[in-house]
Amino acid sequence: METSVTLANLEEHVEKRSPLVLGRETFSSVTNIVSQPMEMKTPKAWWICFLIALSALGVLGASIGYLFWEGVGVWGLNNRVGWAWDITNFVFWVGIGHAGTLISAILFLFRQKWRTSINRAAEAMTIFAVICALVFPGIHVGRVWVAYWLFPIPNQMAMWPNFRSPLLWDVFAVSTYFTVSTLFWFVGLIPDLATFRDRSKGLRKFIYGLFALGWRGSHRHWLNYERAYLILAALSTPLVLSVHTIVSFDFATSQLPGWHATIFPPYFVAGAIFSGFAMVINLMIICRWVFKLEHLVTMRHFENMAKIILLTGSMVGYAYGMEFFIAWYSGNPYERFIFISRATGPYAWAYWTMITCNVIIPQLFWSRKIRTNLWALFIISVFVNIGMWFERFVIIVTSLHRTFLPSSWAYFKPTIIDISTFIGSFGLFFTLFLLFVRFLPIVAISEVKTVMPDADPHGHDHDNSHAKKGAH
């Protein structure tokens, strides 16, 4: 029975839109479903997960503390490879964030109503991923006391960041991205926060009330809300493209073979959306299963996301191919050397891991059976994220470890601190995400209600009679 209901909205009929909320839920039942994880007694499983995440966060703190104490020598960096896991992790986490913004902003402007069930969690993922990302540029020189040099702050050294450097643009791009994403997320939360203010008591009522900003649901409130949401969506839309474009400039504006490529901006943006959607699928499969959101987050949502992964994965595959084509077509011997070295050199294992995870495995999504199988979705998405981490590793480390001067060639090996910092960043991410699922609504209640038949003035006409009459 469940499968038939779940699959019910996969077919698209010409005369009738497929429902996005299944199981004949009502306005009040949707509120109850979403409130349940916040209002129930804290389950043991949550505590176990939270303690694991918190321990990993502790590992991150200890690794960073040791880094600050000793310096970047605790990582496997050498004279040739000055950027390795630190910047790999930074690009990896920033990239993951992009799916959330695409879902919340671009799909909103394109009236893709299926976004409503997943946008809240995806935006939370964006913010937490950007927080994880921001850690790495801050610590990657190991001298936290000069971190303020990132910003153009007047100082006694008369020293100013180089405005022609994309590294400075990156500071502005990522911090703007973080600010706008947080604002967008918060504005979207206001009506739901008011719901929880009204449903809770005592301190919780006070805190939810504080952040609900006096929302009473009047028409004027809704009018302002919709306008603010639209403006923020419009502000976020260019950010989906600009942030990873500028991250790619960190590499593309250098003259290093393997980095110096005009294809980098679109290639990076596609890769970011690719990895981000994989992360959204992983998180939403778990949330849907744990919090029983089957009627709100349907198989149709997953299938749509799988299609986006298939598209962006193919774009990334095209970019990999095009890099090799240009290496040959340009006739540049250094460019050619670095790409042959990627595929056959000391890091060939990383290169082929990337190709397998990013180009080959997602092609399975051509099959609807696989697109609608949760296990397959989950496993393929994990592979995509592994592949996308390796993509950044391959770009950064293989380009650096060989250079024009063979005497300086080197091989990068991660140390235990490299690994613990990376694992620790997942601890930071999941600590924040677990707090999110416990204290904030993981589905945008007020938005989901707008795509339900009850929100349609003719929603009671279950036989769709008004369409037959040709009233509209």
Binding site: P154, N155, Q156, M157, A158, M159, R197, K205, F206, G209, L210, G214
Partner: protein, 215 residues
Amino acid sequence: MTPIFPKWTNRIPTLVAIGAPVVLVSAVLFVWYFFSPKWTDVGYAPKQPVAFSHQLHAGQMGMDCRYCHSTVERAAFAAIPPTETCMGCHSMVQAKSPRLQLVRDSYKTGKPIEWVKVHMLPEHAHFNHSIHVAQGVNCASCHGRIDQMKVVTQSKPLSMGWCLECHRNPVPNLVPKDQVTNLAYDSTKTGYDPTKDPHRQRGVNPPQHCSGCHY
């Protein structure tokens, strides 16, 4: 329904709108002044083991700086004189003064006097006295009127921005080469123009790139 928040909370946005810029501007001004070496370093005058007065020696008696700080023309570091330099005079002048007991002890035991360093630069900034003296930067440009100080006091911030000010516009601090240790010399009054000085072999072109000082 009783309200959760009292009515005065409606004023919070206005108060924040007024208060936030005030707090922000005050914070900027606070950091701008109190975190600067102009506040943290200028005026540093540690107590020295012997109450040596530059005012007396360099000012009233007119001793040349280089009599004691003898390496300043040839080395990066302007030497602190050994006890022997003091005793050159003080074995006869004020030979019994109790204030010079430490100097005499040091002379006898061979254990140097532990003078406290006043003008300090970070290790990653290389300052070379010889080139600055050779180019005719007056001692007072960086050290102030040492000849008027009873206790040596840091009178300039010695910050990177302060160094760069002169490296960008050195002319006001340059004097004829025989006037370098004349702390009272004022090139704005004498109208000295280093670009027209026939005794200068090198042009006035101090480095402004990073490795000028950080090498």
